[in-house]
């Protein structure tokens, strides 16, 4: 949403001196607009023009990086309110909070537990993004020690939670190279907190008492020359946080309200791990860039991570596998032949279930542009008229010596047309992939 070439041109000196390497100011302006040139190439541009251009070309929401080296969490830089308008880019960072009131051994045990929160499903791996260490003790040395202990036990991204700038400075100094997020600058401490953040070049969370207070505070901090910020409206009740997060995102994107052009941080309040995961779900769904949680219940977190994965999937790309014939196990010319769509989730689910039957089989991923079985069927992409002619000519005819194909039970209706057009016998399989084992037992003698 930057400026057009012409708008940029109006801000240039219009002397055509060529020092930028372009024949005219206009040529330079056009290249700037398309991102192929850099403003610094023109030595004569006025400060005023510079500022206007920077403002206009900055993204509506700033990208903030927390952490260093291999473990960097990128948040912000979102462009839409609804994923169907484009996509959400930077998945919500999920953090677990620990208290500096814990003894060193307790703290180590807790961090071990957090390190072990690794989840695997459908060939994907999810893990907790980081640890938030809270200065409950009120003591600077205790906090510093706790931060050291945690940092020594994990390479995950860190958040330091204290409102005392001196305590923050002491603790941040031991993990400065990790670029932790410093939480938080408030109306009472922001000047000193900004100094600490500047000193360590660490991102800084800003907590207001409400949206207006937050906007004021951000402007003051930006006035001090610091822009690596993460926002917290201070609200903690679920529906009110939802409202605040929506306001922050909307104002940043639709109104380009600069004070809200940063990612956000949220905190759960529910004690029960199941309720906590549902509360966190709201923030993952609606515009929370970070959620800090307390519980470490695996089943609860597994569902939360799965939801995050789902909501941050790019809706513009159907997740498809390469259409074609896949061999599962040591296939022979007698092996059964299954067919499903090339929607990856359907394909992998069916593949896993076929593997579980322990009967070497062929699985055809039919090209449905990545649509699932029922959707593809309803859209005329997984019907006898489409599959029949393909099957008749397919290489599978050379691979097996029978002519029997197993189709998903949900599309039993395509049997007649498919048989007519392919010359194959159609066996109606189970409606659900989970029924394949039982089906194979009954029909294929597994």
């Amino acid at each position: 949403m930057g400026l057009t070439g012409l708008q940029i041109f109006k801000l240039l000196p219009k002397t055509n001196c060529k020092e930028c390497g372009f024949p005219t100011c206009l040529a330079f302006a056009m290249s700037l607009a398309s991102g192929k040139a850099n403003l610094s190439q023109c030595p004569y541009v006025s400060d005023e023009a510079k500022q206007a251009l920077e403002e206009a070309t900055a993204p509506p929401m700033r990208l903030i990086k927390i952490g260093a080296g291999e473990k960097v969490l990128e948040i912000g830089d979102e462009q839409v309110l609804f994923r169907h308008d484009k996509t959400f880019y930077h998945p919500t960072g999920i953090f677990i909070e620990v208290s500096d009131n814990l003894s060193e051994d307790e703290l180590k045990a807790k961090v071990d537990e957090i390190n072990e929160l690794v989840f695997e499903r459908v060939g994907e791996r999810y893990e907790v993004d980081g640890v938030a260490i809270k200065n409950d003790s009120g003591n600077a040395d205790t906090f510093k020690k706790a931060v050291e202990t945690v940092a020594g036990k994990t390479d995950k991204v860190l958040i330091l939670l204290t409102e005392d700038p001196a305590v923050m400075e002491a603790a941040a100094s031991v993990v400065a190279d990790r670029k932790p997020l410093l939480y938080a600058a408030t109306g009472d401490n922001y000047e000193q907190m900004v100094e600490v953040a500047k000193k360590f070049q660490a991102p800084l969370a800003v907590r207001g008492k409400n949206l207006s207070d937050l906007a004021d505070l951000v402007e003051k901090i930006v006035g001090l020359g610091y822009r690596e910020l993460v926002l917290d409206s201070g609200e903690r009740q679920t529906s009110k946080v939802l409202a605040d997060l929506t306001q922050i995102r909307r104002q940043a994107i639709k109104k380009r309200f600069r004070p809200f052009g940063y990612p956000t941080i949220t905190f759960t309040t529910e004690e029960d791990p199941m309720k906590e995961a549902l509360q966190a779900q709201v923030y993952v769904s609606k515009y929370g860039s970070i959620v800090v949680m307390k519980n470490t219940s695996k089943p609860a977190l597994l569902t939360l991570f799965t939801w995050r994965r789902n909501v941050y999937t790019d809706p513009q790309k159907p997740i498809a596998v390469q259409p074609g014939i896949y061999a599962i196990g040591d296939v022979t010319p007698d092996s059964p032949v299954y067919i499903t769509t090339n929607f990856s989730l359907t394909f992998y689910t069916v593949q896993t279930e076929i593997e579980a039957t322990r009967i070497p089989s062929y699985l055809i991923a039919f090209d449905t542009d990545g649509l699932s079985v029922l959707t593809a069927w309803a859209g005329g992409k997984f019907i006898g008229e489409e599959i029949g002619p393909w099957l008749k000519e397919s290489e599978i005819n050379q691979k097996v010596n029978h002519r029997k194909i197993i189709i998903p039970g949900g599309v039993a209706a395509i049997k007649g047309k498919l048989e007519e057009l392919s010359g194959w016998e159609v066996i109606v399989g189970p409606r659900e992939a989970s029924g394949i084992t039982a089906f194979a037992k009954m029909r294929l003698g597994a």
């Binding site: 994923r83 409202a243 549902l278 699932s372």
Partner: protein, 323 residues
């Protein structure tokens, strides 16, 4: 400097559909429930009304083939649909009873007749207070017969009947009109088919305040994001004035969630999976919570613990957030 609150100005709203009928309205329900009616995006009360999502719970007419973790909760009643329905409304907080007539499926041994189904519906109505939704067995031929009998038996009660799809909606719409019931119109995760089906059902003469849409929502981890986005688009469409996207949405969250391997696999079946019971309940609750966030007006739940979690979650989301 006070921040000016950004409120979208919408011209449309979600169609309001009332389910059930009290004595004064010609039925016998103790109360009715209102589905839809929202004039804002889900839970954004600062810019309009956001209707409270309703919790329906599932009863089958035959013993369900559900995971054993349901046994301690409904094992004593799952062979008696009437007692089951009573337990759901009395102990587990079901606001609506959702009966699925699986037993009528002609592919089963001794399938139940249309008459059996009608009698069961009558008996459930006589012994419960909550509004009722009834889904057929899924066999179009049989459902024509079954749902018509059910519609007659439940005349005056303003129940909901489904599933009306592109290829069978006529007979179900006729049964609904005859008994003055609501219709559940299903489209397979496709906003255009959903709109077409609504148009065809309206053309049949079903009043707009009797139509509920089922977008065939997927479960967590298995395509739920498609459903979520379709529902977000439909809600936004409704608010900007597209009446064919404006019908209240039912999501069959429980049955979708419990299909997932993650819900039923034994303890520690995969890395990070933890115990089955919590995982299964959470899989269902997370599915429902996400769909509610996407704009579901009524969610169908299975596990009483999931229903309890969702009820409390909805309370939290309904806390006023006007500025």
């Amino acid at each position: 400097m006070p921040v000016e609150i950004f409120k979208e100005k919408y011209t449309g709203k979600v169609q309001e559909v009332v389910l059930g009928a009290t004595k004064e309205e010609g039925g016998t329900r103790a109360y009715t429930v209102k589905l839809g009616g929202s004039s804002a995006l889900p839970f954004l009360q600062f810019e309009g009304e956001s209707a409270r999502p309703v919790i329906a719970m599932e009863v089958w007419d035959i013993k369900p083939n559900w995971h054993e973790c349901f046994e301690p909760y409904i094992g004593d009643v799952w062979e008696d649909p009437v007692a089951w329905a009573q337990k759901l409304e009395q102990e587990y907080g079901a606001e609506v009873i959702y009966l699925t007539l699986k037993g009528a499926d002609p592919e089963r041994e001794n399938p139940k007749s249309a008459d059996d189904c009608a009698k069961l519906v009558k008996k459930i109505l006589e012994n419960t207070k909550a509004p009722l939704m009834v889904e057929g067995c899924g066999n179009y031929e049989k459902d024509n017969e079954v749902l018509q009998a059910v519609a007659e038996a439940a005349a005056g009660e303003n129940i909901a009947l489904g599933m009306a799809e592109k290829d069978n909606y006529r007979s179900i719409a006729a049964a609904c009109m005859m008994g003055k019931h609501c219709i559940i119109a299903r489209s397979p995760v496709d906003i255009n088919i959903m709109k077409q089906l609504n148009i065809m059902i309206l053309d049949m003469g079903v009043p707009a305040d009797k139509i509920i849409n089922d977008p065939l929502a997927s479960g967590l981890g298995y395509g739920i994001e498609y459903s979520y986005s379709i529902m977000e688009r439909a809600r936004y469409g409704a608010l900007v004035g597209d009446k064919m996207m404006a019908f209240p949405i039912v999501c069959l969250a429980g049955q979708e969630a419990w299909r997932a391997k993650e819900a039923v696999a034994p303890d520690d079946a995969g890395p990070g999976w933890g115990d089955q019971k919590t995982r299964g309940i959470m899989w269902e609750a997370m599915t429902a919570a996400a769909l509610i966030q996407g704009g579901a007006d009524i969610v169908l739940l299975r596990h009483p613990e999931a229903a309890k979690l969702i009820k409390e979650h909805i309370e939290d989301l309904m806390v006023p957030n006007t500025y």
